[in-house]
Structures are given as C-alpha cells and as structure tokens.
Symmetry: C2
Subunit: 122 residues, 2 copies
DNA sequence: TTTATATTTAGCTAATTTGCTAAATTGATT
DNA sequence: AATCAATTTAGCAAATTAGCTAAATATAAA
C-alpha cells in the first residue's frame, strides 16, 4: 500500500518532462528485446531494457539519465534489476495499478457524495 | 483531453508535499459550507471553500498558499471561481477522471500485451 | 591481466522552486 | 469617502533540482 509520501514521490517523479518521457519510453519504446515473441514473457532479459539503451534515445548525458532512473526506481514507478553488468528496467505495474485505483476511488467517492462528511465549522 | 504537458503539470502540482496536502484538504477538509445539507448540491457557495479558509489550516503564509492554489488551478486539478470578493475553490473532477482513466488504460494495455509493438532493433 | 562495457558517484553551475514580508488590488461595508 | 476583508503581485533569500564532465566501480571479454 502506498502512503502519502510514496504518492508524492510518484507524482514528483512524473512531474518532470525528462522523466515523464523516459517513463513513456519504458512503456512504449519498443526495445528490441521487448518484442521478441520467441522469448517467454516472463524472461526478464527478453522483455526488459537497460540504462544505456534508454539514454541513447535522449539528448542528455548518460549520468543524467541514470540519476533520473534512480529517482524513478526510488518512487517505485519502475524496477531496476541487476543481471551481470547490466541493469534491466521495467515499468512497475503494481504501482500503476495502485495509482489508478487511488484516482478511481477519489472520483467514485466524490460522486457518491461520501466526502464532505465532517463539520469543521469556524 | 489532456496532452503530455497537461499531465506533467498535474503530476508536478501533486508532487509537492504542501500542494498534495492542500489538494487532499480540498477533497476531504469538510469546510463548514461544504456540509450544509440544507443547501442544494449545485450551489457553488454552499459547497465550495475559499483561499483564506484553506490557508487557516496550514502553517504557511497566505500568499504562499495563494501561489500554490494558482499552480493547482493552472494544472487544472482545482477550479477557482470568483464570486464577489471571494474565490471559491473546488476539486476539478473532470481532470481526476481523465487521470484515473489514463493510468487505468496504461495498466490494461500493458496486461493485454498491446504495448511492445514496435521494432527499434539496433 | 588488460581492456571494454555498463553504470554510478562526486563535484560543479545554472535554473527553478518554495518560502517569506510588504505592498497593491478588488470589492464590500460603514 | 474611509475602512475592512479577500486575494494577488513583487521582490527577496534559501533550498532544491537538473544538467554537465571527470572519475570510480563492477563485470565481461580478450
């Protein structure tokens, strides 16, 4: 379960143009290994990508991308898994689900009118 | 429809502790006027709150809260409606719906496996 | 063991952000 | 017209962020 600080970190991570684009790229970038249907879907190496491949698609220095990825990992919106000397990067789908649910609940509760239930009259 | 820059602004607005708490407060703060069930639900003045009432609940100077609210308005996560010399503030439910849908779609598409459809082999 | 590849860490600068107080603005009330 | 209430604007300082290059680390390959 994500607490308030987790959520703030997630939004902070996504609230920057470079990181947002990196995030989008991780989901939709179509890295070579990610479309190799001859590889089993649960094969990490077949389905994931690495820091250098991501950095190649942006006009920023590698350490800059590396630091952005670290922030995204700390925010739990991606996972970074070391395998030999490469780090494989994947979206963290569990976090995405929780965030989707969090906004969904907010809207649903609002529409049910179950918010506005306290009396802080002053 | 929210474009990429709209979304970045939304996440940026929510990715700061003070603004996140203000946002939460607007949804759940239970301002006096917000629970007056003798007032019709579509009565703006009966259901909304104003800059000063929000600021009273935080340990920051009023202009600081005012500027945060402006950023949240620019990000379209709240609405600010001037009525006489007060500004009434409400959550922007349309935006919340779009964001909920955006994450929902991301997760659904990911699970359907419809992402990873390009071949950027290098 | 040397070299190449993948990544991070350190240390710097410029830009941006977040807070403040004081002053300005706008509209309501006396 | 003078004052009060609600809000914003301006201008400042401190903190944080986002970029860079150079150096360090870790693993793989020759």
């Amino acid at each position: 379960m994500l607490d308030m600080n987790d959520k703030i970190k997630i939004f902070k991570a996504l609230g920057n143009e470079t990181r947002f684009k990196i995030f989008k790229n991780i989901f939709t970038g179509g890295y070579a290994c990610s479309i190799d249907n001859t590889q089993p879907k649960d094969d990490l190496i077949a389905q994931a990508t690495c820091v250098t491949s991501i950095a190649e698609q942006f006009d920023f220095a590698l350490p800059t991308i590396s630091r952005h990825l670290k922030e995204m990992k700390d925010a739990k919106i991606i996972t970074m898994t070391k395998n030999k000397n490469k780090i494989y990067i994947e979206p963290n789908i569990e976090t995405m689900k929780e965030i989707a649910e969090c906004f969904g609940t907010l809207v649903a509760d609002y529409e049910k009118g179950t918010l506005f239930q306290f009396d802080n009259t002053k």
